[in-house]
C-alpha cells in the first residue's frame, strides 16, 4: 500500500507503485487541474509539489508528476493546483492574472505550481530564482513576457518572506491554505510506513529516464524504489574526498554547501542541466546507470575522475566512473548490484574546473555536445588533468589521451591547439537528431577552447586559437 497526503486528503492506495502520479491525480482522484502535455517531463503542464519531511520541517519542491512513479509519493505531501486554491486567488495566481500571463490556460496550472514551489522555498527570493522556478514550464501562447512580469511581481512580494518558516508566513499572507500548517504533524504519523520492498532488480529512482523510456513496463513490473532511501542520500566531505549518496538528485548536489565550496560555479553549470523539477527528481546514480552518451552528470563527474561504490547485498566494490561505461548503454554493473555512492577525490584546496554544454535550446534540452575539464596546476604547469566529452562517442567519454597530453604542459594557445588535435582523434561522433558528426566535432573543439578561454582569459584567446 502507498500512503501519502494529496492536498488535504490522506491517500491509502493499492494502485501499482509504478503507475504515474499524474494519472492517479487526474483519473483516480478526478483532480483535472493538473494537465497532460507530453508525459516526458519536457513541458511542465503536470507540475505538482512534493513536500518531504526533513529535519522536522516540510521541504517543498516542484516535480513532474508524469515521471513520478506513484510509489515515490510514499510518506510525502503531494499538492496539485486544487490543493493551493483558496476562496480568493493567491498572490501568485493574482500576479498571473494581472499581467495577462495566461492565454489558452492549458499550461497555466503548471506555472502556478512552479511559482508556488518557489514561494515555499527556504531561499530568499529574487527575480532570477523566480524565473528559474518556471524553467521547466513551456507556454506556447504568451511568448513569456507577461509571465516574466508576473515573476517580477511575485519575487517583489516574497522579498519580505520569513525564510526561517516560509509555510507559516505564506499561510498568514494567504499564499497557501491553512491546512499546510498541519501537514508536518500529519506527515510525521506516516513515518516508518513504506511501500512493500521488492527484491526485484528493476530499480527505479527519480524516474526521469525510465518513465520516459519504458513507462508501460514500469507500470506492470515488480519495481524496487530507491528515490526515498535516506541511507542513499546526502553529500558530505570526508578527509580528502566528497561522498555523494547515489540517490542524491541534481538539485541537492547543486545546492550542497560542500559542492558549492569546491565548485563555486556549480549553480550556473547545473542550470544548463534539464529544468528545476527534473533536477529535483533525477539522481546522480540514475544518470550514470542510464549511460546516455550525453548524460550531463556523467560528463561533469567524469572530469573529476570519481570513483563509484557498487553494492550487492553485503559485498561492495569500487571502480572508477570512467571504467563503468563499457560500450553503448553497456555498463559494468552485475545483476543485483547498484550504485551506493560516488566519491570525488578532493585532495586540493583550489582546483580549476569548467563545464560546457550546447544544445539546440540552451535550457531544458539534451546536449548536442557537452564537456568538462578539471585542472590541477603547480607553478604554471598542469600537474593533473581530466577532460570529458559527451555526444561524441557511444559512451560518456573520458578523453584519456587528451588529458594525458596536457599533464606536464604549460597552458599556451599552442598547447591547446595541439591538445585539440589529439582530442579529435579520440572521438567518433555520429550524425543524429542532435547534430551532424561534422558539427559535433567542430562544437567539441569550440567547447574545449571555451574551457581554456574561460579559465585563462588573459593568456588564451579565440583569435590565437584559430590562427
Amino acid at each position: 500500500m502507498i500512503t501519502f497526503i494529496l492536498n488535504n486528503k490522506l491517500i491509502q492506495t493499492e494502485s501499482h507503485p509504478g503507475t504515474t502520479l499524474l494519472d492517479f491525480i487526474r483519473y483516480d482522484e478526478n483532480l483535472t487541474g493538473t494537465k497532460i502535455g507530453c508525459r516526458e517531463g519536457d513541458c511542465g503542464a503536470c507540475t505538482v509539489l512534493e513536500g518531504t519531511l526533513d529535519n522536522n520541517k516540510v521541504i517543498y519542491k516542484s516535480i513532474a508528476s508524469c515521471l513520478t512513479p506513484l510509489g515515490n509519493a510514499q510518506g510525502k505531501h503531494i499538492v496539485s493546483i486544487e490543493g493551493i486554491n483558496m476562496k480568493e486567488l493567491s498572490p501568485v495566481q493574482n500576479a498571473m492574472v494581472n499581467n495577462a500571463g495566461t492565454q489558452c490556460g492549458f499550461c497555466t496550472p503548471g506555472f502556478i505550481m512552479s511559482f508556488t514551489a518557489h514561494s515555499l522555498s527556504t531561499e530568499p527570493s529574487d527575480n532570477e530564482l523566480t524565473i528559474a522556478a518556471i524553467s521547466g514550464n513551456i507556454c506556447r501562447c504568451t511568448g513569456y513576457k507577461s509571465i516574466e512580469k508576473a515573476a517580477e511581481d511575485i519575487s517583489e512580494l516574497l522579498k519580505i518572506k520569513d525564510i526561517s518558516d516560509p509555510i507559516k508566513w505564506l499561510v498568514e499572507n494567504k499564499h497557501i491554505p491553512n491546512y499546510f500548517l498541519e501537514i508536518k504533524n500529519r506527515l510525521e504519523k506516516l513515518e516508518g510506513l513504506n511501500v512493500e520492498k521488492s527484491e526485484n532488480d528493476k530499480i527505479i529512482a527519480g524516474g526521469t529516464d525510465l518513465m520516459v523510456q519504458i513507462p508501460e513496463e514500469i507500470a506492470e513490473s515488480d519495481i524496487h524504489l530507491f528515490y526515498n532511501q535516506k541511507d542513499l542520500k546526502g553529500i558530505k566531505k570526508d578527509k580528502d574526498s566528497i561522498i555523494i549518496g547515489s540517490a542524491s538528485n541534481a538539485s541537492e548536489i547543486m545546492n550542497s554547501e560542500v559542492m558549492q565550496e569546491y565548485f563555486p560555479e556549480i549553480k550556473s553549470h547545473f542550470k544548463l542541466i534539464s529544468s528545476e523539477p527534473i533536477r529535483n527528481m533525477g539522481t546522480i546514480a540514475g544518470n550514470f546507470v542510464n549511460a546516455s552518451p550525453i548524460g550531463d552528470l556523467s560528463i561533469f563527474f567524469l572530469a573529476l575522475n570519481v570513483n563509484i561504490i557498487l553494492k550487492e547485498s553485503k559485498n561492495t566494490r569500487q571502480i572508477l566512473l570512467k571504467d563503468f561505461f563499457i560500450n553503448y548503454k553497456k555498463i559494468d554493473l552485475n545483476k543485483g548490484e547498484y550504485i551506493e555512492s560516488v566519491i570525488i577525490p578532493m585532495p586540493y584546496q583550489k582546483l580549476l574546473f569548467n563545464f560546457e554544454k550546447v544544445s539546440k535550446r540552451t535550457h531544458l534540452d539534451i546536449a548536442s555536445v557537452n564537456s568538462a575539464i578539471f585542472l590541477k596546476m603547480k607553478d604554471n604547469i598542469i600537474e593533473n588533468c581530466s577532460v570529458s566529452a559527451g555526444g561524441v562517442s557511444a559512451i560518456p567519454k573520458y578523453l584519456s589521451k587528451t588529458s594525458e597530453f596536457l599533464i606536464g604542459k604549460t597552458i599556451t594557445n599552442e598547447v591547446v591547439i595541439k591538445a585539440n588535435k589529439i582530442l579529435q582523434e579520440e572521438i567518433s561522433p555520429i550524425s543524429d537528431v542532435r547534430g551532424s558528426a561534422e558539427y559535433k566535432r567542430l562544437l567539441l573543439r569550440q567547447l574545449f577552447f571555451a574551457h581554456f578561454i574561460k579559465l585563462y582569459p588573459e593568456s588564451i584567446s579565440l583569435k590565437e586559437l584559430l590562427s
Binding site: Q103, S368, R434, S461
Partner: protein, 750 residues
Amino acid sequence: MKNIDSKNHVTGKSVYVDDIPVQTGTLYGAVFGSPKAHGKIINIDFSEAESLEGVEGIFSYKDIQGRNQIGGIIEDEPLFAENEVHFIGQPVAFVVAKNEIAARKAIKRIKIDIEEFEVITDPRVAQEKGQLLTPPRTFKMGNVDDEWAKCDYIFEGKVESGGQEHLYIETQGSYAYPTDNGSIKIHSSTQGATLVQKIAARILDLPMHRIEVDVTRIGGGFGGKEDQATPYACMAALASYILQKPVKISLHRLDDMQMTGKRHPYSSDFKIGLSKDYKILAYQASLYQNGGAANDLSPAIIGRTLFHSTNAYFIPNTEVTAYSCKTNLPPNTAFRGFGAPQGMFVIESAIAKAASELNISKRTIQERNFIQENDTFQYGQIAENVNIGHCYQTAKKTYHIDKIEKDIEEFNSKNTNYKKGMAIMPICFGISFTKTPMNQARALVHIYQDGSVGISTGAVEMGQGVNTKLIQVAASVFSINTNRIKIESTNTTRVANTSPTAASSGADLNGNALRIACNSLLERLVKTAAKILSCDVSEVRIENETLVHKNKKTDILWEQLVKTAFLDRISLTENGHYATPIIHFDKTKEKGHPFAYHVYGTAIITVTLDCIRGIYEFDDVKIVHDFGNSMNTIIDNGQVEGGLVQGIGWMTMEELAFAEDGRLLSNSLSTYKVPDIYSVPKNIDITALKTKGPELALLRSKAIGEPPLMYGIGAYFALAKSISAFNSNYKLDFDAPLTPEKVLMRLYGK
C-alpha cells in the same frame, strides 16, 4: 479588460476535453497508424489485438457506413487507409478499450504487411515527378520578362524554410457519446465545430442535425486544430455510434507529433531586379510547397503564400508561381500565418541577397520600396489606408534605428568572441478568409428575464481572447456591466454553419454578427423604454445600466427594462448575421479585392551571438504595430508577443527532422524544441501606431492573431548579420531555421 478565463485558468478550473467528467462505461481509444510512409496494404491482422483483455472493438474503413473521406477542400483523404498508405502515422484503425493502457497495448499487437513503394519527402522531387496536389498557380503583375533588361542589378538565389510543429500543449482529442434519437454529441478540441459536424455526418451517413459538436475552449490551436482535429472526432464518433457507448480519445504527444500535419516546409527560387537607386523593378519566384500526402488546407495556404509573396513592398513587375507538391509526409496544414510567412521569407531573402551583394544595408532597399497609397497589390486590390511607411518611420524615430546600427558596429569592432546583428522586418497581412464565402458568421443572443445575457457564436476560444472581445462588444452596445454577460460554448445546435476560428478573423466576423444581434435587441428595448416613459425613441438611451431620458438619468434600471419588455411579450432573443462586404476574388484571373483591410507593422530585432559556442540571444525586439484602434490592448499585446516568439522559434530553433523513410525523428518535446522562457528576447517593446482603424474591423480594432508571427522572420536576418560580422567568408544563405548547428557551421565555414 483582462481575459475573462484568467481566473479559471490560474486555479485549474477551466475545462478542456480530457477534463469533462466521463459517463459510466466510457471507452478509450488509440489510433493505429501506418508504420510505413508509402505502400500497399497486403494484410492486416487484428486477431491478437482483439483478444486482448479490455479491448471492445477495432474499427477500420470497413466499419464506415458513410463515406470514408475527410478531405475538406478536395476530397482526397480517407479517415482510415483502405488499400494504400501514404505517410507514417496515417490512421489505419482505431482501437477502443476499457482503459487507455489496454487500447495502447492493443495497437502494438496489430500486425500489418505493407508492400513498400518509393518514398518522397522533398517537394522538388515530387514536382519533377509530376506529383502535385493541385495545379500550379501564378500571380502576375506587369511583365517581368521585359523588365529584366531594364534592371541595373539582378540577383538569384534559393531559399529553404522548414516546417513547424504547432505544439498546442493540449493534444488532439475528443469525447463522443450517443444521445437521444440516434444522435451523437461530440466534444472536440477543434477550431472548426461545423467542419467536425459535417465530416462526422459524412462518415456516419447521418444528416448534420444528428451530430452535435460542442467546444468549450481549446488548449492552443495555432491552425493545428482547424482541419486536423476532425479525424479524431470522427473516430470517436464512429466507435461511439457503432457501440452505442461513450468513447474518448486523447492523443499521446508522440502520436500527435507523428500523425498530424504541420506548417508547410517550402523550397523556393527567386530572381530579383533592381534599378541603381535600389527600386525593385521585377521579382520572379518559384515556390515549392511540401504539402504532404493529401490536400488538407494546402490549396488555400498556397493561395495566401502568393497573396503575400511581395510582403509590404510594391513591385511593378512580378511573376510568382507556387507548386503544391505531394509527398509522403502527414498532410501539412494551417499554422498561424497560413503560408504567408513562407512567402515573405523568400522576398526578404531576395532583398537581403541583393543588399549583401551590393554591400548596402538591407533596409536601404526595404525603405525605398514600401507599398504606397493607391498602389496595386499583385492580386489587383488597390492599397488603401496604407500604414507601412508610417510604421517604419515611427519605428525609425521612436527607436533610433541609426543609433542601434552604430552601436552594433562599435560593439562588433571591440569584441571578438561576441557579435551583434540587427534586422528590420516590415509586415503587411491581408485580413479575410481568401475564400470569400467563408467570411460570414452568426451570433445568438439571449437576454434572460433577470437581465443576464447569454451569447453563442461560432468563435472558438483558444487563448486568443475572442470571448473577452465578444463580451466587450455586447457590454458596449447594451451599456451594461460585463459580469452580466456569459459566453456559451461553441455549439453547432445553437449556431450553425460556422467558419472555423481562423484567418485572424474570429473577432471581426463573430463580433460583428454579435454587434448586429445586440443592436436589434437594443432597438426593441429602447422602444419599450419609450413606451414606459411615453416619449419618442430618439429621446431615450441606456447608459451604465440606467435608462437615460433627454440626457437625464431616470430611476429605471436595465433589469427593470428587460422585465418590462418580457412582460410586454417582446422577444429577448436575437440572431445576428454578418457577411464581410466589398470582398471578392476571381480565381481564374487571380485578381480581385480579397481582403477587408491589411495589417501593417515594423519590427527591429537585435541579437548577440556567442561566436565560440554558436549560440545566441535576442536582445531586443522593438515593434511599431498597426492595431487600428485596439479594443483590448492587454489581449492584443499578448498576441503580438506570442506571435513574435513563435515566429522566432520557427526561424531559429524549431527544426523538424525527417528520416529518408518519412519517419519524423523530432517526434517529441525532447527532440523538437520550442522557445522556453530563457530563449525569448530579453526585451520586447511594442508601440501602437496611432490610427483610427478601418470600418471593417470590429470596433475599428484590427485583427491580431497572425500578423505578429511574421516579425519573427527578422530573427533570421539579424542572426545572419552577426555571423557575417565574425566570418567575412560567410556567404549569406537562406536555410531556416538557423539553429545553433547551422550557425556554428557558418561561423567557421570557409
